[in-house]
């Protein structure tokens, strides 16, 4: 091809531009109103993550959304890097522990909100990190116990002193504020579980199951707990829906839709009012309750007449 000098210059500029764009050296140019949110979903095939994303979008319609699913093909950290580079978000919403951890590694200085992260305190929380925790406040839980059950005033709890000591101490104060008593029994190893249950169950009206690595060390431990509680006719109050099939009388969890709405409210506060929240991490505002009426009748545990209006799901 015999180009004039002018033609060669124009051709070179075009080729250089194409190389830069394809090589990713030039960030995507888009209208920037300061309202762009990149939603990084640990796995959008997981029902609770998909629900959280859906509700977040519906509750933050003033913001512009794009999504990255970490289950897409490719290295997740590279996907995150490219998404941030290309979409230039003003805020990142991380759904799930994996998303939160990876965004924190790839882009530690980017403003982000997290939700659905188990034990968020194990991750660094700087001045750009905000979120909604996954664990309900103890005060809320005791108020709900009182709302549902007529006569339960003392609740037993087994725990590993090394892991949950401070949490249990705080929960005991919350119980007192709600007019209840928390009877705690620390155990140091799985083998001590059986004796601990034999000592604790006669002293309490119900047993509260919490996420503890020693108490719930194995499937056999879980079965033992429910077997002994059944034999003692004591209802078990649990923190995860999984225990409903084991025979928990009541399961109380944080309501996922409410968490997503709270996250949306936080995102709009940060981006629209240009105001950083004074409390970076909120506790969930909504509760979701499963009541096992069959177990409750079996243990002859009276419930308040209006308890059923508080319940999301009834098992019979």
């Amino acid at each position: 091809m015999n180009l004039s000098i002018r033609g060669q210059v124009i051709f070179s500029i075009i080729m250089l531009g194409m190389m830069l764009i394809m090589g990713g050296g030039v960030p995507a140019v888009a209208a920037d109103n300061g309202h762009k949110v990149l939603i990084v979903n640990s796995n959008s095939q997981v029902e609770q993550y998909a629900l959280m994303e859906k509700v977040f979008r519906e509750s933050s319609t003033k913001l512009e959304h794009s999504t990255l699913d970490l289950e897409s093909s490719g290295d997740p950290k590279t996907l995150i890097y490219r998404a941030i580079r290309d979409r230039q978000p003003d805020l990142i919403f991380c759904i799930g522990t994996r998303a939160h951890a990876m965004v924190g590694e790839v882009a530690p200085t980017e403003k982000r909100i997290f939700a659905s992260v188990i034990n968020w305190k194990r991750f660094p929380v700087g001045n750009v990190t905000f979120g909604i925790s996954h664990e309900l406040m103890s005060d809320m839980q005791f108020t709900m116990f009182r709302m549902v059950f007529k006569d339960i005033s003392s609740i037993g709890i087994l725990f590993d002193d090394k892991v949950n000591k401070e949490w249990v101490a705080e929960a005991a104060q919350a119980a007192q504020r709600a007019g209840m008593k928390l009877v705690s029994h620390p155990i140091a190893e799985e083998q001590a579980l059986s004796n601990a249950l034999d000592e604790l169950l006669p002293k309490v009206d119900a047993l509260w199951l919490i996420a503890d690595p020693v108490v719930l060390a194995s499937r056999e431990s879980v079965e033992l707990i429910f077997r002994k509680a059944d034999a003692a006719h004591k209802p078990v109050l649990a923190y995860n829906d999984l225990f409903a099939s084991n025979g928990a009388s009541m399961v109380m969890t944080a309501d996922l839709k409410t968490i997503a709405i709270q996250a949306a409210s936080l995102a709009e506060e940060i981006l629209l009012s240009n105001h950083l929240p004074s409390e970076p991490v909120q506790t969930p505002a909504g509760t979701s309750i499963v009541l096992n009426l069959r177990k409750i009748k079996e243990h002859n545990v009276p419930i308040n007449p209006d308890a059923l209006s508080l319940v999301n799901k009834i098992l019979e």
Binding site: D139, F142, T143, R177, G286, T287, K313, I314
Partner: protein
């Protein structure tokens, strides 16, 4: 063959007579539509089973719950165009918004502790005053966002009800606890929920202050549409729903939707639904 045909004819005539006699009791295969934006009823799977078990053997009524206003509105449009008879269990203020083409007729009103009205209360943490700005504030409510803003406007007409961010929570007690613990700045709940919190946890209750309250609001109402209710059918469905408080199964359903029963109120009560009260 002839004797067979005569036999078949006799059986058919008997069947037709029986159907005609039984239809007023079993009615058409119509549905009970539930949509109440005043509460966040989330237990639809359990509720549907309970209602269907209760209706089974007593009525051909089906049960169709709605959690979203848009979907309920679409269902109403479908009823308008098809003319199919149905029964609605809805918030009293929604009655005013029902299209006239549905020919809505109120039948029963919900009941709690012998009364059929309740008040809505706007609450904040102690120290917040009614005159404070709402800009940027989070309001927790178990009712739908449109209903919540409508109530705010009624209760505090001098305030901009659009200035708050509404956080919809599953239950009234969640809304109250959210304010007590700082997840929300304001809460819109019923007076009854506040009384429950006061009874169960006075410490949390004493952290709250009342900013405003509504007038008495009718509890949810049962309405027939599309002339479902010829007299016998009307009486039959009314009896069926009124009798819920007399059986264990019926009482469980009522508790799940936050009521003690249904009853036919005195004259003039339903006129309120067309008037100023929500």
């Amino acid at each position: 063959m002839d004797s067979y045909l005569r036999w078949a004819g006799r059986v058919s005539r008997v069947f037709a007579i029986l159907s005609g006699l039984l239809m007023p009791w079993f009615g058409h295969a119509s549905d009970l539509y539930l949509y109440n934006p005043e509460t966040n009823i989330d237990n639809f799977a359990s509720l549907k089973k309970k209602f269907e078990d209760y209706f089974s053997g007593k009525s051909a009524l089906g049960f169709v719950p709605f959690s979203k206003g848009g979907e309920f509105d679409e269902a109403l449009k479908g009823l308008s165009s098809s003319g199919s008879p149905a029964v609605l269990l809805i918030s009293s203020w929604q009655f005013r918004d029902l299209p006239a083409t549905l020919s809505p007729q109120p039948l029963l009103v919900g009941e709690i502790k012998g009364g059929f009205t309740q008040r809505k209360i706007l609450t904040a943490r102690n120290g917040v005053k009614a005159g404070d700005s709402w800009s940027g504030k989070r309001l927790a409510s178990s009712a739908s966002e449109p209903y919540t803003r409508r109530m705010l406007k009624d209760m505090m007409p001098d305030k901009d009800e659009q200035a708050v961010k509404v956080i919809v929570v599953p239950k009234d007690i969640d809304a109250l606890m959210s304010v007590a613990f700082g997840m929300a700045d304001l809460a819109l709940t019923t007076e009854m929920s506040m009384e429950k919190l006061k009874r169960v946890n006075p410490t949390q209750f004493n952290m709250l202050t009342t900013l405003a309250s509504s007038g008495q609001v009718l509890l949810p109402v049962v309405v027939s549409v599309n002339n479902m209710m010829e007299n016998k059918q009307s009486a039959s469905v009314s009896r069926l729903l009124s009798a819920m408080s007399d059986s264990d199964d019926g009482r469980i359903i009522l508790q799940m939707i936050g009521l003690d029963g249904f009853r036919k109120p005195g004259a003039g009560v339903f006129a309120q639904m067309n008037g100023a009260l929500p």
